[in-house]
Amino acid sequence: MTISEHKDAVVPAAVITADGVTGSLDLVFDRFVPPIAGAIFLIAWEVFVRWRGIPPYVLPAPSVIFQSLWTNAGGLMRALGNTALVTLSAFVLATISGIVLGILIALFRTVEKIIWPYAVALQVTPIIAIAPLVIIWVGLSKVWLALLILSWLVAFFPMLSATVVGIKSVDRGLQNVFTLYRATRWQRLLRLQLPAALPFILSGARVSSGLSVIGAVVAEFVAGSGTSTGLAWTIIQSSTMLDVPRMFAALFLLAGFGVVLWHAMSRLSSTLLGHWHESELKDEA
């Protein structure tokens, strides 16, 4: 009798705690590897810059950047605060408008045929081009509104697109259940289409959150006047002044903010989808 162990399936009797062990290993991994990788990345950067003698106005070493971050901390944090405010407002606005318009497009064929081209046209309109006009339209005294509109413009399309695809992907079997029980349009939307579209919408939101950061920065760049002091100004000014370390410090802050926002969206996603959607399920084998 030849008993050869089936590699994938053999589980020694002592592995009752296997799940626990793997779990905590994963946890350790999650907690330590990314920071270590980050550290390696920064060190490599530092070494590279020093070894090649690259001047700070071409590529500053991380040490120089962090020093600049430290020296300019106050101003940078204030600037970040301003940018964050615009970003978050634009993101919220983009999310709401994207979902609402997406619903209309997905549900009403007429709206779809008529609105889509304009939505696409809006998406490809460079805000750099229309910034001066937007400022005239909203009035110079309401620059914040112009900023909001411009950064919204950058962020809203992924939400729209994701909502539409999500709603259109609803399982036909479930649609039949709702039709059978005479769900009103509203009920169908709230209880079927939106939950089913959620994985798509949240994926769109992750893209959108990043775009609203860029949107806010670019909007501030093209429409901001001297009184608004967000990160865009810091970056542009540092750049013209050749204070490249400060520019990188601002970029680091911006990237950090973007990553935090993205993490928040990922968290939201695993909270909302964790108990049911494949994309967020832990492997259970």
Binding site: P132, A223, T229
Partner: protein, 302 residues
Amino acid sequence: LDKIRFGLGWLPEAEHCGFFQAKATGLYEAAGLDVDLMAGGPGINTAMLVAGGEQDLGMGSSFTTLNMVKQGIPGVTVAAFFQKDPQTLVAHAGQGVSKLEDVKGRPVMVADFARGEFWQFLKYRFDFTDDQLRPYTYSSAVFVSDKTAIQQGYVTADAHYLGNQLDQPPVIMLLADHGYLNYATTVFGMNSYIEAHPDAVRAFLSATAEGWKSCMTGDYTPAMKLATSINTDPAYGEGLWKASINEMRDRHIVSNESGEGVGAMTDTRWADFFADMVKAGVYPADLEFRKAYTLSYLPGLK
């Protein structure tokens, strides 16, 4: 008090000294004006804001109102506070470039906006060609990192920024010294506004001229204090102000060597500049360029 909303071309900086001085030392108030100095920025198109009625008067250059005339927008320039346009080309020392003629055939980093303005002048006057064009990114990093590079600059700031980064001071070629007749830091407005408020406009220009005189010959710190309280960026601080004011004084930017009054413009200079631009192909010869300015509000006149 008459309210005037004045659009600056950029963030508050030393090139706006006269306006801030007038405001800070109460010259405007004394003239019966309540002037709001509105900061600009890269996306702020002052000409559009003035044309759209969001601002009463704005800061521009000769091009501003010539473009308006070309587009059928009734705007006029009423005064010019920079007799010399501070626009420069900057090269590294020791590269065999000392004057604009030497730049011919070499790559030059020029911003997109300039390609409708001084680039055409350079092409016509010094036989530059479009294949010399390289992109200008509003950052000197590219320039500093490449010894052969030549880029556009601003005389009030070049030496200050670049001086710290370069071993040798850069070669600065002021276009105005090479026959570039553009008026800079002009004041323009819409016909309708100016005709409706002639006294306010005159008062504004006179007070501003006083401000400029005091900047160029006296103590500019009131202006600097006011400006830096609005534009708090440390990069726009005292160091830059000092350097810029010195450049403006040394190079006679505000009132040139021929001793014309502060804010002055002449018919001849407008005509010559326009003729140059026609030859450069920027404007058609039949453009009614005289609609682009008026001499009847100049600060010297009473």
